[in-house]
């Protein structure tokens, strides 16, 4: 399909998320994405969840720590933050997470908040 003209494309914000778990925990990007969707669906409802449109773009995890970039629609950052705070388990492993920062581009998000 022909791509949208610039003024009709959605605007995004990118949240840099730091992850932590017990050292023996291991889970994949897909599992984390599922947990984020469930958390958003449960807290914000279907409508709010669709508005926020949370998607995990980048993900790395190992040895009990990790980081991810989560895309959210501009103007929905606070509901997204709330939904992320409600992610307490991924794949049966308890996780702690916090939003390190918010950027307008993926590149800025990586450069500022992710480990090189």
């Amino acid at each position: 399909m022909k791509h949208l003209p610039k003024h009709l494309r959605p605007r995004w914000r990118y949240l840099a998320v730091g992850l932590e778990a017990w050292p023996d925990a291991d889970f994949s990007r897909g599992a984390f994405q599922r947990a984020v969707w469930y958390a958003a669906g449960n807290l914000l409802g279907d409508a709010g969840s669709a508005d926020a449109d949370l998607r995990v773009l980048q993900f790395s995890f190992g040895g009990g720590t990790g980081e991810a970039v989560v895309r959210v629609r501009r103007g929905e950052v606070d509901p997204a933050r709330a939904a992320l705070a409600c992610v307490s388990e991924v794949d049966g492993h308890s996780v702690g997470l916090h939003v390190r920062g918010v950027s307008g581009t993926i590149r800025a998000c990586e450069e500022r908040y992710l480990k090189p």
Binding site: L43, D78, A85, C86, H98, V99
Partner: protein, 259 residues
């Protein structure tokens, strides 16, 4: 609130709070979180303090049942304030009453876990208790009479965000319903309150901004959550001051006098 008269009335008294590492003068803006450290929870007090410092808190309240951390060492290692608190978990007011009398002189903060109507009533009617925690869990209830008594006695009622963050489905709906009821009662009675995520491991801690966002999503004004997190530090500072040697009674202090 009588608290403000106590706090407002003192001038250079903050020099007694030398235990607080950062900016002793800025007490109203500091957000603290209250946690359950090992062996009550899964993580040690040191782990909690390190994570809380990383998340932007300026202090942790270690509300111990069995835990006996070395507060000074943890404070030193983490760089944030660590408050010596105790949480009385008893099945009935008679037992709680004995524990309150015994523990009050030895700890900065004293919390009583609610959860039954009798325990809730006991806690809000006793001005030696600082915080009534989890008043709505396990079928406990609060009404306007208790909220008014809490306001009179200066007993903080806890808004427990734990179930909102960590449960789903019916349990969470129930917790949200209870939180809403409690919020309306507390607002009506103008009762003091605290906010906590009730973390049992350092993974359950959430940053202040996250808690504000969650509060916003479930109907709490962001300022309410902020005040609730700060209230822990206000309480800690008030009690440290009261337990210091220069304090005799509200408005009466021993100090230097000229002549």
């Amino acid at each position: 609130m009588r608290l403000s008269t106590v706090l407002g009335g003192r001038g250079r008294a903050s020099d007694t709070d030398t235990a607080i590492p950062k900016r002793p003068g800025r007490h109203p803006s500091r957000m603290y979180e209250a946690v359950h450290a090992h062996p009550d929870g899964d993580s040690t007090a040191a782990r909690f303090a390190a994570t809380a410092a990383h998340l932007g808190y300026e202090g942790v309240v270690v509300r111990a049942q069995e835990a006996t951390p070395d507060h000074a060492a943890v404070r030193e290692a983490s760089g944030i304030d660590v408050v010596d608190a105790v949480e009385v978990v008893a099945s009935d007011p008679e037992r709680a009453s004995g524990a309150v009398g015994g523990l009050r002189p030895d700890h900065t903060l004293l919390c009583v876990r609610g959860g039954t109507d009798r325990l809730n009533r006991f806690a809000v009617e006793n001005d030696r208790i600082d915080v009534l925690t989890q008043p709505m869990t396990d079928g406990g209830d609060v009404n306007h009479v208790l909220a008014n008594r809490a306001a009179e006695n200066g007993v903080r009622i806890e808004f427990d965000f734990g179930p909102v963050l960590r449960t789903t489905g019916g349990k969470r709906v129930q917790a949200l319903r209870n939180l809403r009821k409690l919020r309306e009662l507390v607002a009506d009675a103008d009762a003091p309150y605290v906010v906590s995520a009730n973390a049992e491991s350092h993974l359950e801690l959430r940053a202040p901004r996250e808690l504000l966002a969650v509060g916003d999503a479930v109907g709490f004004d962001p300022d309410t959550v902020r005040v609730g997190l700060r209230e822990w530090s206000v309480l800690a500072e008030r009690n440290r001051h009261r337990q210091s040697e220069s304090f005799i009674g509200p408005g009466v202090e021993r100090g230097r006098h000229d002549g």
